[in-house]
């Protein structure tokens, strides 16, 4: 298979939601999606539509209601937590409380699945950490405690941690939430740059529709009433999906290229 079109993730007849077999709330059904290597995918949709649930399900933090998830061709239910950790890294909205932790130590945590019992980092680990810090341009704060830095800096540090974990796929749940406009922009630019420079695939959920349209290779539009709509930003704009789902957007983004 050609490297550039290698499929990293594929979802087959996936139903996601909460609950057990008898009683459940289904959020999204019959998802059949795939993610290729080196693509940046933005997951858009209203609050409560199940964006976080989808991310959590792909990361196996919660089980799907039914259906299968394949990670580089392997069914994730057959993989150990450690195997998954080597392939998928996460940036969540969970608050980080581990005070006394420096930015460097936070990024080093990313090497967790790769280190031995003692957690000691070897030469390769140190290189990956250095690299991640360099990519995210947080060298200037690497000795600061994580409670001393701003939300924007923390988000970049968390992305660096995910990068150091070195999976093929990075999942980010609303990485721009709580950030000011400039930081939202720089975080999204950073993710775009990472995809281009490292060839990793990124799925991120966001409410920043304009930036997602500008920077993503592909959009997944989630809507309560219908199944998920996917496509490149240009095709979705053409087909009027964007103007229908986000009526508040200005003409510049919804009118397409013409």
């Amino acid at each position: 298979m050609d490297k550039s079109t290698e499929t990293i993730l594929s979802l087959q007849n996936l139903n996601i939601g909460y609950g057990n077999k008898k009683k459940f709330i289904k959020l999204m059904d019959t998802l059949n999606l795939s993610v290729n290597k080196g693509k940046m995918i933005s997951l858009l949709g209203a609050n409560g539509v199940g964006k976080s649930t989808l991310i959590r399900t792909i990361a196996r933090l919660q089980p799907p209601l039914s259906g299968q998830i394949f990670l580089q061709g392997k069914d994730i239910t057959t993989l150990s937590n450690k195997d998954i950790a080597k392939r998928i890294s996460l940036v969540l909205t969970d608050p980080i409380q581990g005070g006394n932790l420096s930015v460097l130590e936070l990024v080093e945590m990313g090497r967790y699945p790769h280190t031995s019992w003692s957690g000691k980092l070897n030469k390769v680990d140190h290189e990956k950490v250095e690299n991640a810090i360099h990519h995210c341009s947080i060298n200037y704060i690497k000795d600061a405690n994580i409670f001393e830095i701003s939300d924007g800096q923390l988000q970049k540090a968390l992305i660096a941690r995910a990068l150091a974990q070195d999976g093929e796929l990075m999942l980010l749940d609303e990485p721009t939430v709580h950030l000011d406009a400039n930081n939202r922009y720089s975080v999204m630019q950073l993710l775009k740059k990472l995809v281009q420079e490292t060839g990793k695939s990124v799925i991120l959920s966001t409410h920043q529709v304009e930036m997602a349209l500008d920077l993503s290779d592909e959009l997944w539009l989630a809507n309560c009433a219908e199944s998920i709509i996917t496509g490149s930003p240009a095709t979705l704009v053409e087909a009027n999906h964007i103007s229908r789902m986000f009526p508040y957007l200005s003409g510049k983004h919804t009118m397409g290229e013409k």
Binding site: L61, L90, Q97, G98, G99, N100, L101
Partner: protein, 281 residues
């Protein structure tokens, strides 16, 4: 001298148990006793002492130890069973507190129906003491403490990952339930055996990890574990020396000393640092 040995092992056991609980529950108020372990132990001892059985002869201290360990392990098994069914450590913490409240209530009821003599011997046990251990008892006490410490040390790397919260920890390859079971077993062994032989020594388990974090300015358990072991033993040894100052015939209850001297020190440290939850990890 068994007394000094006891203080060293009991202090490090309590400090380390506190560290594990604070990290597992991501709560600066957690201590080795939040899971109801000490209440369980108290209940075991209370049943034995207040019913007036087995408080004479050679069996006295052994019976006490066995009752206490039985009580704490019963609570442990209950909490472990619950922890298999819930993913959220906060719920586990609350359940531990509830179990603690329940067993304390049973102890109160028992006291109400007991004779004054029996209540007095039970009260003496609750004062805590490091002085009652014979070499014979040390042969049980020390191996159990060492086992608890070894299990805890084996979880040093998972403890670091847990600093990020359970979701991140799992996303880094950790199996949260397995780690939680290991930590609960380690803590129960440590807190249970210390409670059995020395009484419910208050405060150390909660305070030592905070002092360690403040002194060593670290969140890394590779540093914090040896730090709590060291600080715990130093602190309890110091309290023990204060409790039986030379020249004075009177020996203060160790529980009173740990709290009398320890609490102001910790308050001072926390006020100086302004915000313990930031510092906590």
């Amino acid at each position: 001298m068994p007394k000094a040995f006891t203080a060293v092992f009991a202090g490090s056991a309590l400090g380390f148990a506190g560290l594990q609980m604070q990290t597992l529950f991501r709560n600066p108020l957690a201590g080795p006793f939040v899971l109801g372990i000490s209440s369980g132990a108290s209940l075991g001892v209370a049943l034995l002492v207040l019913s007036g059985i087995g408080i004479t002869g050679i069996l006295a201290s052994w019976g006490m130890a066995i009752a206490s360990i039985t009580g704490s392990s019963l609570v442990l098994i209950l909490v472990l069973t619950v922890s298999f069914n819930i993913r959220d450590s906060m719920s586990l913490l609350l359940i531990g507190l509830m179990v603690g409240a329940f067993t304390s209530a049973v102890v109160s009821v028992l006291q109400y129906f007991s004779s004054a003599d029996n209540i007095q011997s039970f009260l003496f046990w609750t004062f805590g003491s490091t002085g009652n251990l014979s070499w014979q008892e040390m042969k049980v006490f020390i191996p159990v403490v060492v086992l608890g410490i070894v299990i805890g040390i084996s979880q040093a790397k998972p403890l670091n990952a847990l600093l990020m919260g359970e979701n991140y920890a799992q996303s880094m390859g950790l199996t949260v339930k397995k780690v939680r079971v290991a930590l609960v077993i380690s803590t129960s062994l440590l807190a249970g055996v210390v409670t059995a032989f020395c009484g419910p020594v208050a405060f150390l388990g909660l305070a030592v990890p905070h002092v360690a974090r403040i002194i060593f300015k670290s969140a890394n358990h590779m540093i914090l574990i040896p730090a709590t072991l060291l600080l715990g033993s130093i602190l309890l040894l110091t309290c023990d020396i204060i409790a039986q100052l030379p020249g004075i015939d009177l020996i203060l209850p160790i529980n009173a000393v740990t709290s009398l001297f320890g609490a102001p020190i910790v308050i001072w440290l926390i006020v100086k640092r302004k915000n313990i939850s930031r510092n906590f990890g």
